[in-house]
């Protein structure tokens, strides 16, 4: 449904999006995940024809955005980062305007507006001026304008922005229900959102795709390691030296907890459960072991690992992302 090839956006002094390639199939919900400023919005703006890419190609439903923009745009419903609403219009007038702009025939406009008002839970406010609505309602009006012409492709930039928890659940349900007959791309920096709604995830950082896959797949593959945490009564430098030498230990962090207590956190590759060995080492040295446990890496941490520009972590980034993009 959507094909993106080698998309780049360069400005005079910096490259915001670099060589992004992916495709989205009919009926898929693709999550576009990345920290703020990663290039998510810029990619979406190029995808919807608002910005011209510096290089690369966008194709929507078989139409090239550069050659056939009107036809390509006709298939898309788009919610930008900030809902593009006119404060002086009523919700109903605004949605009717959006419908006409997308070529909904005059006699069908009212029905289209009524149905989208119901879907986006705007039943309380159809005749209010948008200026008088809360942020949450304005955001839903923004989503409604993207759906009013029943587009095949729906692109939502941070759709749950500014909503309260109850509204967030409602909107996630709405997005899921869209998947039946639409193709959806949604961007977010909120992880649970991706886990709950998306069938596929693309993680973008500093303008490039760093990982791609199904949420559970991504979690499973990236959760290649485990973290071990312990609390011991030991001199900080000694225990650090002792544990550092164990095979496969990375990201070792030793911090003093109180007078003579230290907390240690370290990561090991999966299949290399060092807990028994560590216990033996600590006790063998005559230190007191107060606590020892293993903690799985959450998707949140994986995301952080992938998107933190920390040199120390860049090794662990390269491997799993390659596995995923080629697998």
């Amino acid at each position: 449904m959507i094909v993106i090839e080698n998309l780049s956006k360069r400005y005079a002094d910096r490259t915001v999006v670099r060589d992004v390639t992916f495709d989205v199939k009919q009926g898929e919900i693709l999550g576009f995940l990345g920290p703020n400023g990663a290039g998510k919005s810029t990619t979406m703006k190029m995808l919807t024809g608002y910005l011209t890419p510096s290089a690369g190609r966008v194709e929507v439903g078989g139409f090239d955005m550069a050659k056939d923009p009107i036809k390509a745009k006709g298939l898309i419903g788009y919610l930008p980062e900030n809902p593009p609403v006119y404060p002086e219009m009523t919700v109903r007038d605004y949605l009717a305007f959006a419908a006409k702009l997308r070529g909904v025939p005059g006699r069908e406009v009212k029905a289209a507006v009524d149905s989208v008002i119901e879907r986006c839970i705007l039943g309380e406010v159809p005749n209010k001026l948008i200026a008088h609505l809360s942020k949450g309602f304005q955001q839903r009006v923004g989503i409604a304008q993207a759906l009013v012409h029943r587009p095949k492709v729906i692109i939502l930039d941070e759709p749950t922005n500014g909503l309260d928890p109850k509204q967030i659940i409602q909107i996630r349900e709405l997005i899921k229900s869209l998947a039946q007959d639409h193709t959806v791309i949604l961007s977010t920096h909120i992880l649970p959102e991706v886990q709950v709604t998306c069938s596929r995830v693309l993680i973008i950082n500093q303008g490039t795709v760093v990982a791609e896959g199904k949420p559970e797949e991504l979690e499973g593959k990236l959760r290649g390691g485990m973290r071990i945490e312990l609390e011991a009564r030991a001199p900080q430098s000694d225990i650090e030296a002792q544990l550092q030498d164990l095979p496969g230990v990375s990201n070792l962090l030793v911090s003093p907890k109180s007078e003579d207590l230290v907390r240690v956190s370290l990561e090991v590759p999966s299949g290399n459960d060092l807990r028994e060995r560590i216990a033996a080492e600590v006790i063998g040295r005559g230190w007191g072991l107060l606590e020892l446990k293993s903690v799985g890496l959450s998707l949140e941490e994986i995301f952080l690992k992938l998107t933190t520009a920390d040199a120390a972590q860049s090794d662990s980034v390269a491997e799993p992302s390659e596995v995923l993009t080629h697998g």
């Binding site: 910005l51 593009p84 002086e88 219009m89 959006a98 702009l101 070529g103």
Partner: protein, 236 residues
């Protein structure tokens, strides 16, 4: 065409929902009425020629006030993103906006119908001259509006758009005086380009196709530049 009309309609509604349309119309009529009475009192002529000549100055101020928001506000609010990602060409966006200007200008003209009616009650005006005079000021007003739409496409600051429209229109207005400085043959070119020059025949009751053509090409040129300027947004 339906999309151009949808944009124009939305634009007009925006004028009339905010008090802009009414305030501009009321103040316009106040000034126009004042001029009309003064001129009538002094000349005692059943003609609108003097009024029309003076209304040009009013348009110089009204046009920036009406057009400054057209594209600048869309960009400032981010609503331009909705227009430009909808299946509407940049040309249709600009034409829709301009159509709303033309319609609002027609609304202002319709309000001034009270003046010829007053003349008809008092005397025997030459209707043909009044009609061509209306055509003359309508074309001039429409030209200033086209300049306004163009400058509004350059910035997302409405005040800058308004000041630029005013300055640019005034410069075009004053072209013949610059012609006097540079001398022949350039002065003839400047004379031809003067926006007031081409109105004279119309105010006198003569429709010369070259005058109408001047205004139409002026407007088409400004709209063309506006469309180009909107296209450039995509490269930012």
């Amino acid at each position: 065409m339906a999309k151009i009309w949808a944009i124009a309609q939305r634009e007009l509604k925006a004028y009339f929902v905010s008090p802009v349309a009414y305030v501009v119309a009321a103040l316009f009529m106040l000034v126009a009425g004042y001029l009309f009475s003064l001129i009538l009192y002094h000349t005692r002529e059943a003609s609108l020629r003097g009024l029309f000549a003076n209304l040009n100055v009013v348009f110089l101020i009204v046009a920036p006030a009406l057009t400054m928001r057209l594209l600048a506000e869309e960009r400032q609010r981010g609503t331009i993103e909705m227009l430009m990602t909808s299946p509407v060409s940049d040309r249709d966006i600009v034409l829709g906006k301009y159509l709303s200007c033309l319609l609002y200008l027609a609304f202002l003209m319709a309000l001034t119908a009270i003046f010829p009616i007053t003349l008809a009650l008092l005397g025997n005006p030459d209707w043909m001259t009044i009609l061509t005079g209306y055509l003359g000021i309508y074309l001039l007003g429409a030209s200033f509006m086209a300049v306004g739409l163009l400058t509004s496409s350059w910035t997302n600051n409405q005040v800058i758009a308004a000041v630029a429209t005013f300055a640019l229109s005034l410069l075009i207005w004053l072209l013949p005086s610059a012609g006097a400085v540079v001398g022949q043959p350039l002065s003839q070119v400047f004379e031809y380009m003067s926006i007031l020059q081409h109105q004279e025949n119309l105010l006198r009751g003569v429709i010369d196709s070259s005058d109408v053509l001047y205004y139409v090409s002026f407007i088409v040129g400004a709209l063309f530049l506006t469309i180009r300027s909107v296209e450039v947004y995509r490269w930012r």
